[in-house]
Symmetry: C2
Subunit: 325 residues, 2 copies
């Protein structure tokens, strides 16, 4: 079943007709949506829906609301971060310009609501609850992005602050993906909240895995430059942990690399990675990832649903821990 | 009754708690919403609701969705247009920065949906229709803004193209305001579409009145600089009409002022205004405004509602034609 989800989602994305004119507004949306990605969020929504019901095809359109929303955030975040590339291709504001990326993104956000509005077989109270949860999640994702930008100008960010930032910026949407699948299947708010919590934990583990792969990923498999976060002095879980734990010469060396402006990129990556490794940051991060996923699986275990029915979702979750890309 | 609408709307705006943290995200929203404005769109929604029902208080929150949406478009348009001032105060991107204006605007758009979600006493099909209409309108407003930006780089814009642009950028939202009031009152789609059409005509007349006041407004009453559009070479109804009709020396003179880069502002305004006046553009624009409002009143006349009930809305519409600000 899960093997059908991605092709079905891609087929729906390919035939999406969000609008035509003016072309400046709609072409960037088609461009970004066609750049691909793993479509993790709508797949999670369909997997969760399938815990309860078999007719997952009915959940495709509302589930895509999250994918459109996610891509909207990428379009706007890339402007704010002045990012030149997204999935190896020019970002929208680079290929067109900032104004077009602002306005196309705005339309994308509106279109996300159009897809959410395709939710059927649901009563008004449930639909308004769904919309309320979508809105809350969407606002939180924006809050997370603002904190992320604020962190760039702060010298000290604690692990707790960092976790709260990635919870808002990344995890709540993964949580909502699973909540959405539950609500679309006609389940209760309580059940939806339980699945939301699982998704939130998965999202936290997922983001820490991202941080880890950026440093320790296999350059051949990873697809983007390993060490990019180190070069950008990005305050990741690994860097914050290292800043907390480095003492004496090691602290001085880390500080030196963070301030070095003319260093050779490969030298900086190798040196910081060496500091991480000698402090045991790799293992600490893996342990943190494992903790989040373990908690998620524990909550999965509490669901009174047959193991057989849970299998696809649990396999998919396990794949997010083990991934190398 | 209508005298209570504006204070009730302002009270609700003042007590809005859209969010607190991070402050960078929510402070700009409070700032922009507090800058005032005539709140024409939610007032029109309440007036239309009151054609059918008396409990207009129940329509306040969903009606404010349009005001929040409208202010969201102002926040983002001001970035795109590099506008320094809005209602005489620094724009959000000027007072903070572009990134904050992008992200605060995004949250505002989400919050508009939160207020729309306060629609009560309505069935699911009606609510989903309402959401669908809101989305369509929101996308069209973005389309209008894109056409407006495109027009800056076009030497020739026809009156038809201009009218279509202002229809999208301004009128559809005025139309939707009246449609929303109708749907919130539990009326049929057909009735809502009829009121939408009235609003669309009002919106067109309203925008042409804006174009006219920018040139012929009373400097004391107008509140912003008379002639601003002329100085910016903005392709308004008046300029497009003048470009169509000016011949020989007058065409050359108009062309001269449009290309003059170092002219004295008051000279340019006086000269272009003189060309408009001698071509009769003032009267032509007034006639066009009158045509739109006449059509709107004609459609009002077809409504099978007592004249007494229609009075407040009709007086308000008449006020939009006669306004000097």
């Amino acid at each position: 079943m899960i093997k059908q989800f991605l092709p079905a989602l891609e087929a729906e994305i390919n035939q999406m007709n969000l609008g035509q004119n003016p072309n400046e507004l709609y072409e960037p949306i088609r461009y970004l949506m066609a750049l691909g990605g793993k479509r993790i969020r709508p797949v999670l929504s369909l997997l969760t829906y399938s815990l309860f019901k078999n007719d997952w095809q009915n959940a495709i359109q509302p589930s895509l609301s999250i994918e459109i929303f996610h891509n909207f955030t990428l379009m706007h975040d890339d402007i704010m971060d002045k990012a030149p590339l997204r999935r190896g291709k020019a970002t929208v504001h680079e290929k067109w310009n900032d104004n077009i990326a602002i306005l196309s993104g705005d339309v994308m956000l509106v279109k996300a609501y159009d897809y959410l509005n395709e939710a059927k077989n649901i009563d008004l109270a449930s639909f308004q609850y769904l919309l309320n949860r979508f809105n809350k999640t969407a606002a939180e994702v924006c809050e997370g992005q603002q904190y992320d930008m604020n962190f760039e100008n702060l010298s000290n960010v604690s692990i707790d602050e960092y976790i709260e930032m990635i919870r808002l910026k990344t995890s709540v949407l993964v949580g909502f993906a699973m909540e959405l699948g539950t609500l679309l299947a006609g389940e209760s708010k309580e059940m939806a909240t339980h699945l939301y919590q699982i998704g939130e934990l998965v999202g936290l583990g997922f983001q820490l895995k991202d941080d880890l792969l950026d440093v320790y990923g296999d350059p051949v498999k990873f697809g983007k430059q390993v060490g990019g976060d180190i070069l950008a002095n990005k305050k990741t879980y690994l860097l914050i942990k290292a800043l907390e734990q480095a003492k004496g010469d090691q602290a001085a060396e880390l500080s030196h690399w963070l301030q070095a402006s003319n260093s050779i990129p490969s030298d900086k990556i190798a040196a910081v990675k060496q500091i991480y490794t000698s402090l045991g940051i790799h293992t600490q991060t893996e342990n943190a990832i494992k903790r989040y996923f373990d908690q998620a699986f524990e909550l999965m275990g509490k669901l009174e649903i047959s193991e057989e029915r849970k299998l696809s979702l649990q396999n998919f979750m396990a794949g997010l821990v083990d991934r190398e890309v």
